[in-house]
Point group: C2
Chain length 650, copies 2
């Protein structure tokens, strides 16, 4: 150990050659700053960072290759705090790196207007993805590593394999979060892809939020699990900086993912709380903080220059988001029966010329038609097997690296990944999701396979776009549009094949709608999307035989909704009927009501949705049994017109 | 092997002493019937059952202890098909057991009105829980095993430990579903509880929906994982009935959970499809079905009596759902500041005298206050650690066994378990869920910890009840009410402490509301629930200073909503303002609109909700920044009244 620089040297500027004694001083500074900022804020999790401070001090000084002044460099390493509640530690590291001032740290943490939020978000340029919902960081890290490979960096784990120096992904996890199944989905993926460029550090501090963790300090148990999922497990004393340093150094050179199991003590360094229960998520009161800082050796002013990445690839290897104008988009003939999900797959194939487009599957690619993309661009197709959470987590990592992931499974099974989708919105990731096999229309497979909550779920995601095409032309066009949509966009795709309604070349602006039938004497408006558009078209014909003229509007853009068209229809006709293959709550019906609310007085309003629990029967029988088929629409429209035939109260 | 009865004996009635040769004949019958019913239906997954037919034939003949005529016996074993798509096999077993006729099987499967749905549901009395969303069966099985222990059966895995014979739980899984993280959450729980009474059989047929599974026939890899999670792994040739029988026999006697890894071939027994890709989820066309049946040896008429359970416990050991009238329910003093989540915990303690109440935590029991119950009834408190999916899965198993689980975590983290909640509704489970820390009100922790989608998510669940109390009195009363609510009920609990608004003893009927302020000259109605009720009360005072009289209604029952009261308010006042700490979509605002739609013409309507992405700041600052605090309510109410002061158009 280099002892020429010592603990007394409190204003050091550390670099990769600094002694481990100095690194330990940095660790103490990280602890002191974790205490200081959380006590100043009056909330936060200082003890959860104090356990990991030694590991992080070693990492940032001697092993992390990161240009703090240029976080956008594609050859930077990545550091993701899966244990996002340890944000005081992360922000203390940012201070040590010289990119956050002490003033910002102490006065800003957890305060209004500050980017130093309670849990890290990409409001900070050194944060790849928002964390705080535990068990997500490893899966996102897998996506970051896969993105680096797509950027052209080698994938065999070598530091320099001729394709340029290899950015490494480091994820810091808590031990409690190892109980999340998503962690094992992620480690399985890391092992499968042989991500030698990925190191997970588990801060095994034994204490969770409400008491001891399940496995406490049983590093062997963690090691068996990690090894069984294809990773190399490396137990270390997380407070022995030399051991930690050696482990990190070796991890960087391994040809498979490494899980470093760091045995640590929560609240390390302050005897009043160290390894004591009852101190999770609590800042120290000011008097205790004072004693803690004293016991930790007081404040320091250590800065770290660390290691820079060795040089990025040539610019042209980065993905371009410019549309290839030469792409051929799918066309369909009017009246032909084509499933929306098939059009989705066709459109993905058309998007293959965009180098930023990647496609993610959860072992249903032959149902969602993502396998069409897999055939033409296998190098940008990722099979997640039946692990929907990991599919979304990896998508987030790819998205924040500049790629545009299209991730698809049955609409019903996207519910499995709702927490990941919600968090992706916090990250600000641009994800294009497709949920196929929506609604009772799937028929015989029964309710377990039916997406009947997906519109509610996806509409409620912050900043989301929700699309629900009724035919192949619109499905393909909207899929292509999703490639350029920011935030979380969602395409709801029907299983069955229905007639093509729109000419190829028709445009489907986001927030638009299509009025499929209208006249200057419309009495009722039928509003639908997806499969129920076809039922409304049938109902219109039947109503015409009763001398009732119906306007039929395809609300393919559920969010944002074409409020102007809906309002006009409500003003111009005597009744409005919304029909949807979804539970009554949170779907198209309520989206329509929200667009009308306070803006127009509707006379007759009817809403047909799936209110009962479906069973198994054919698609047509399902629509009828759920009360959303043409005969039900006709009946309700006639009832509403009878009930409101005293005229409009405009 | 007993050869006195042979394959030629095609009308056999098998029992536990039947020869393995006869058991193989049963397996062939199960294959033939799987082919027959799916070909007749024109859909379904015959090949996924054919791989597991030998294992199931052995199990049902020689190892399963089940009274087919009395599926409600608490001493029955449980058999859960986690691979629910193998329903043809399961239903063929029901036919062999004599409880489903051949006619029902062939003419009913997947048809309208039949209980033989595409994926099993408890419409069939021998099915504990609905499956079909993969990766859920093991977790539910854990709940069934825990329930049996609560029923008084011994927990040490012994067949007879003095507490009566021990019902065994058998779960059949596909190999593809082992990719779901929830499987590892479940096996971890099985290992932790040392569930010797639990056996998982993985049908390792190597082929998933779209091609080979990740691990194909690498039984060693599966074994390492299962062992690492605390289970005994037993690899067998799944088509060697003697090997299978020995493994099942030993599994029943183990003192820890066993994972039998059965190496099998998909489509086993019909050479045209056996171990061939491209046959997932496809019935055989009639001509192929004919050849398959011939190759499998034709139809048989084998029935199975199998083994009965050895006798149930005395009646009084079963849980009673009768309320203990002596229970003391919590009381609070008007104006005292008490958090709704604390009242939830208080009410759980009060419910301790109900022997059916069990409480489930996901390592946040000190935040949700479920730990209050843990202190008084540790034997009915289950710590799931941070594994929300497993928390819900175990709850389903407990619910279908007659218990009433209360499961709680942060509202945000219930999104993690949405697929499980959705499926619990298909099962018809009675679950009481609590999501604490809802909305931006949580303050400094930031968006990762905020439930802002939970009302949309929970409202969209079939048959759900959604409750959102504004104070401790109502929170406690609604918690107690949930103990008797059928289906999925959800209590949304605010983090912070707010003044008690209601006297102890006040009643809060489901579907009701409380009008907190009204007069005969109300101009505007303020509708809210939870924390925004308090903002509306402040706004009312402020509006009064502007000579505007506001009606304030606490819509604590979000679903069902008190439509009559809302309609009356809309009729009697000139404007309606809904205020909620939730994203605008799918929450209280849209619930109000749905209740008004087509029933009353609203003049002025305003909706305040959380439209922007929050950051970290204090609770009060959050409410203000999100535009849902009293000043925003006052401003909007005044605007609406100005805009509609030409009077009502009634």
């Amino acid at each position: 150990m280099d002892t020429s620089r010592t603990a007394a040297d409190r204003g050091s500027a550390l670099d990769a050659s600094s002694s481990l004694a100095d690194v330990f001083e940095l660790a103490q500074q990280l602890r002191v700053d974790s205490v200081r900022c959380s006590t100043a804020a009056g909330s936060g999790h200082p003890t959860s960072g104090m356990s990991a401070a030694d590991v992080m001090a070693v990492l940032m000084t001697r092993r992390l290759r990161y240009d703090w002044r240029d976080p956008r460099r594609t050859d930077n390493d990545h550091l993701i705090f899966s244990k996002g509640h340890a944000s005081p530690l992360l922000y203390a590291m940012f201070k040590a790196a010289g990119v956050v001032s002490d003033e910002e740290l102490i006065d800003g943490y957890r305060r209004a207007g500050s980017r130093l939020e309670g849990h890290p978000t990409p409001a900070l340029p050194w944060v790849d993805a928002a964390t705080g919902s535990l068990g997500q960081g490893i899966g996102i890290g897998v996506g970051l590593a896969l993105a680096a490979r797509l950027h052209g960096y080698g994938g065999d784990g070598a530091l320099d394999n001729g394709a340029g120096p290899h950015p490494h992904v480091w994820a810091l996890c808590g031990d409690s979060e190892m109980a999340e199944g998503s962690v094992w989905e992620a480690l399985d993926a890391a092992g499968r892809y042989q991500l030698g460029e990925f190191t997970v550090i588990v801060d095994v501090n034994r204490l969770g939020q409400r008491g001891p963790t399940e496995l406490q300090w049983d590093l062997d148990a963690y090691a068996r699990r990690a090894e069984a999922f294809g990773c190399a497990a490396v137990p270390v004393d997380g407070h022995d900086v030399a051991q930690v340093d050696a482990a990190l150094e070796r991890a960087r050179r391994r040809d498979r993912p490494v899980v470093i199991l760091a045995k640590t003590r929560k609240g390390r360094g302050f005897s009043e709380v160290e390894d004591k229960p009852g101190w999770h998520g609590k800042p120290l009161p000011p008097d205790m903080a004072e004693r803690a800082i004293a016991e930790l050796g007081g404040e320091r002013a250590i800065t770290v220059s660390g290691l820079k990445p060795e040089g990025s690839l040539e610019e042209e290897k980065a993905p371009q988001s410019v549309r290839d104008e030469g792409a051929t988009f799918p066309t369909y003939s009017l009246g032909d029966k084509v499933a929306a999900r098939r059009a989705f797959g066709d459109a993905l194939v058309a998007l293959q010329s965009r180098p930023d487009v990647v496609v993610m599957d959860a072992e249903v690619g032959n149902s969602t038609y993502t396998e069409a993309f897999a055939k033409v661009r296998p190098e940008r197709f990722y099979e997640s097997y039946i692990a929907e959470q990991q599919m979304i987590a990896a998508s987030v990592g790819l998205s924040v690296s500049g790629f545009k992931p299209f991730a698809a499974t049955f609409a019903a099974f996207l519910t499995r990944a709702y927490d990941f989708i919600r968090m992706a919105a916090v990250t600000g990731a641009d994800l294009a999701l497709c949920g196929s096999h929506c609604g009772v229309e799937i028929g015989e497979d029964g309710p377990s396979q039916m997406g009947l909550e997906d519109l509610a779920m996806m509409r409620a995601v912050h900043g989301s776009t929700v699309l629900y095409p009724s035919d192949a032309t619109s499905a393909a066009a909207l899929t292509v549009a999703m490639a350029d949509l920011p935030g979380i966009s969602y395409l709801r795709a029907t299983r069955g094949a229905y007639p093509v309604l729109y000419e190829s070349g028709e445009r489907f602006p986001i927030g638009g709608s299509k009025t499929l039938h209208t006249s200057d004497r419309d009495q009722v408006t039928l509003l639908a999307a997806g499969v129920t558009v076809h039922e409304c078209l049938k109902a219109r014909e039947e109503l015409a035989q009763h001398d009732i003229s119906a306007r039929v509007i395809d609300l393919y853009s559920v969010k944002p909704l074409d409020a102007d068209t809906v309002i006009r229809a409500a003003e111009e006709t005597d009744a409005v009927v919304v029909v949807e293959d979804h539970h009554p709550e949170g779907g198209l019906g309520e989206a329509v009501l929200a667009s009308l609310a306070g803006r127009v007085r509707v006379n007759g309003f009817g809403h047909l949705a799936v209110s009962s629990m479906p069973d198994s029967r054919s698609a047509a029988e399902q629509l009828d049994a759920s009360g959303i088929s043409a005969p039900h629409i006709v009946r309700l429209a006639r009832e509403l017109l009878t009930g409101t035939n005293e005229g409009k109260g405009k």
